[in-house]
């Protein structure tokens, strides 16, 4: 009986192809929008999380200057006291629970090889930096301790720099010029791609901190100190220890606020991820409204269909159909219609999400749960919005219905 009814409804949908298609359109657009939004959204969340973990998970970054935030006094009367070698030394000497501690000072600098030139992010650091950032070398070796100490003109380059200057060739042992100072390439960094913020993580040159300070920055400052927590220590535990040590070495009395900030990359990752999740939810909800509109479309067309087929309903009732037969017939028709729209919508939505993830280079993350939900929801819409018209059909008086022209 049900199979019979489904066949019947498919036939009546086929008979009015154009009208059925226009009715479907509402549901198709609604479901496609929801699926695309949620799929792109969860892809973005994954991407953001991955990007931030590329920056280094379990990583604290210390930088000079008061952390931005509400309630802090304006910075005008306050000369920012940079981080210095002694701060680093204190952390290395006293901090427990850290896997790696490394200084870093950065600047965008013009790098030249032969006739080629490139503006690149040049970082002065030490041999612990690779460990702290979780970066790896494809070839060559890191700085030795003596190179770090004496500030020898050696450097590690990223993939973008290698491609610019050497194409597919081996850069090791070549000398490049970094801001009027020359340095010898001793290693190549593993490619990391772009961050979600469009920053090329491979357009970098690493050199010993002392070489950077002396030949490029012209001062003794340290911009950042990277601290990677070891496996047993959560960053939330490490952060107050870092703060204590630095306040002590920088002689900050308890009544004053710290003149440095500690950023916890894990927290940032979580915050970003939850922000994108909220965004996704909101966009999904907006898209959901169009589903409602689609449902009203279904109701509209089913009412038209019931009116149009009043005579048919009369015939059916006369030859022995019960109210429930008519009710089921139109309910099934509405459900089949919206389910069909739902399935087409899912395919289009996934297609759009696939396209978006290809162009935005985010992971394609379709969720079976979301798809199942969309199927269920579109069927539900058909039932809910089809019920009223179906009931109207079922309640018709067979005599009036037969008389209907």
């Amino acid at each position: 009986m049900i199979w019979e009814t489904v066949r019947l409804s498919l036939r009546s949908i086929r008979r009015n192809v154009l009208r059925s298609f226009l009715t479907l359109l509402g549901i198709v657009i609604g479901v496609a929008a929801v699926i695309a939004m949620l799929t792109i959204g969860s892809g973005t969340t994954q991407k953001v999380k991955a990007d931030i973990s590329k920056l280094g998970s379990n990583l604290l970054v210390v930088r000079a200057g008061r952390p931005a935030g509400p309630g802090g006094p304006g910075g005008l009367d306050q000369v920012v006291r940079p981080l210095a070698e002694k701060d680093l030394a204190a952390l290395v000497a006293h901090l427990t629970g850290a896997r790696a501690i490394s200084p870093a000072s950065q600047k965008q600098v013009r790098v030249i090889f032969g006739t080629e030139s490139l503006t690149s992010g040049v970082t002065g650091t030490d041999s612990a930096y690779l460990d702290a950032r979780d970066w790896k070398l494809v070839s060559g070796r890191p700085f030795s301790d003596s190179e770090t100490r004496s500030g020898t003109g050696v450097c590690l380059i990223g993939e973008t720099v290698r491609q610019q200057f050497f194409g597919a060739g081996d850069p090791e042992g070549e000398i490049i010029r970094v801001n009027r100072t020359s340095c010898k390439i001793i290693g190549l960094l593993e490619p990391k791609g772009y961050t979600g913020f469009g920053q090329d993580q491979d357009n970098v040159v690493l050199m010993p901190l002392h070489a950077y300070q002396r030949r490029i920055a012209g001062n003794r400052d340290i911009d950042n100190i990277y601290i990677a927590a070891d496996d047993r220590t959560p960053t939330s535990e490490l952060q107050p220890r870092v703060e204590d040590i630095l306040r002590d070495i920088r002689r900050i009395t308890p009544d004053r606020e710290s003149d440095f900030g500690i950023r916890d990359m894990t927290q940032i990752a979580d915050a970003m991820a939850s922000a994108t999740t909220t965004m996704t939810g909101m966009l999904g909800a907006v898209a959901g409204v169009s589903l409602l509109v689609g449902g009203i479309g279904i109701m509209n067309i089913m009412l038209v269909s019931v009116t149009e087929r009043t005579r048919e309903i009369g015939i059916r009732l006369a030859i022995g159909a019960h109210e429930k037969h008519i009710l089921i017939q139109f309910l099934v028709e509405a459900t089949v219609l919206s389910l069909l729209g739902g399935i087409i919508g899912i395919l289009i939505g996934l297609g759009l999400a696939g396209l978006a993830s290809a162009t935005l280079t985010i992971p394609f993350a379709p969720s079976p749960a979301v798809i199942l939900l969309a199927v269920g929801f579109s069927a539900l819409i058909g039932m809910v919005f089809g019920f009223f018209p179906a009931l109207r059909g079922a309640r018709l008086d067979p005599i009036d219905a037969l008389r209907h022209e």
Binding site: I315, A318, G320, P398, I399
Partner: protein
């Protein structure tokens, strides 16, 4: 139902519409009975109450007052679904305008009442073919109404009415849309079904020569039965 008891009994049946001053009586205390196997023509001008009587006979409508019993059951007091069940089990309908489902083949139209009976698809097909054979439409099973002539469409409608092997056939102006030759054919078919299957036939018509095919004619006027006569053997 006791043997020999009438199939259909109207006992002081009233059917009224409207309220107060505007109250109209389509049937004003009608009494008659129809036995099994009879072929009865119901005649009368429009507004005489003949269509209302037919609707009540076919269990499509219920009396306002009085009793309509069908097969010994007080059908006038049954709810919609029980009347639907009675129609499906015991009544076949033939209408003036054929009332076939458009864009649906002859065979599928004939199968329709069986679907609501829950008959399995293979058996439905067989019964529909038998019914179409009985009305002389072999070879037209897969034609849609638009591909059939008026007479053929009415034959499909008759096949649909008899496919459930009903006790009663209710025909409302079955030849109203047909020419003389086709009218003759359809009436011959109804007479044959009445004689061969023992099918009780009640038929509304306003044409005397069509009514002559029946054994008995009941005439309505202003909600009353004005005459109820046996016809001479004709045709």
């Amino acid at each position: 139902m006791a043997a020999g008891a009438p199939l259909i009994t109207f006992d002081k049946v009233w059917k009224s519409y409207g309220q107060g001053e505007a109250r109209v009586h389509a049937l004003a205390g009608v009494d008659f009975a129809i036995r099994r196997g009879e072929f009865v023509a119901i005649m009368g001008p429009s507004g005489s109450g003949k269509s209302t009587a037919m609707n009540i006979i076919g269990c499509l409508d219920t009396p306002t007052a009085g009793t309509y019993s069908f097969m010994g059951v007080d059908a006038g007091r049954l709810d919609r679904n029980r009347r639907a069940m009675l129609r499906n089990l015991y009544v076949g309908f033939v209408f003036q305008g054929y009332n076939l489902l458009a864009r649906t083949t002859a065979a599928e139209n004939v199968e329709l009442p069986l679907i609501y009976r829950g008959v399995a698809s293979r058996e439905r097909r067989d019964l529909a073919m038998q019914a179409l054979a009985q009305v002389g439409l072999v070879g037209r099973e897969h034609h849609t109404p638009a591909e059939l002539s008026g007479g053929q469409q009415q034959r499909v409608a008759i096949a649909r009415a008899i496919v459930t092997r009903p006790t009663l056939l209710v025909a409302d102006e079955p030849t109203g849309n047909l020419d003389t030759a086709r009218t003759h054919e359809i009436m011959e078919l109804l007479t044959k079904l009445n004689k061969e299957l023992g099918l009780t036939v009640t038929m509304v018509t306003h044409e005397a020569d069509v009514a002559d095919y029946a054994e008995r004619t009941i005439r309505f006027l202003d909600g009353h039965v004005v005459s109820d006569t046996a016809n001479l053997e004709t045709a």
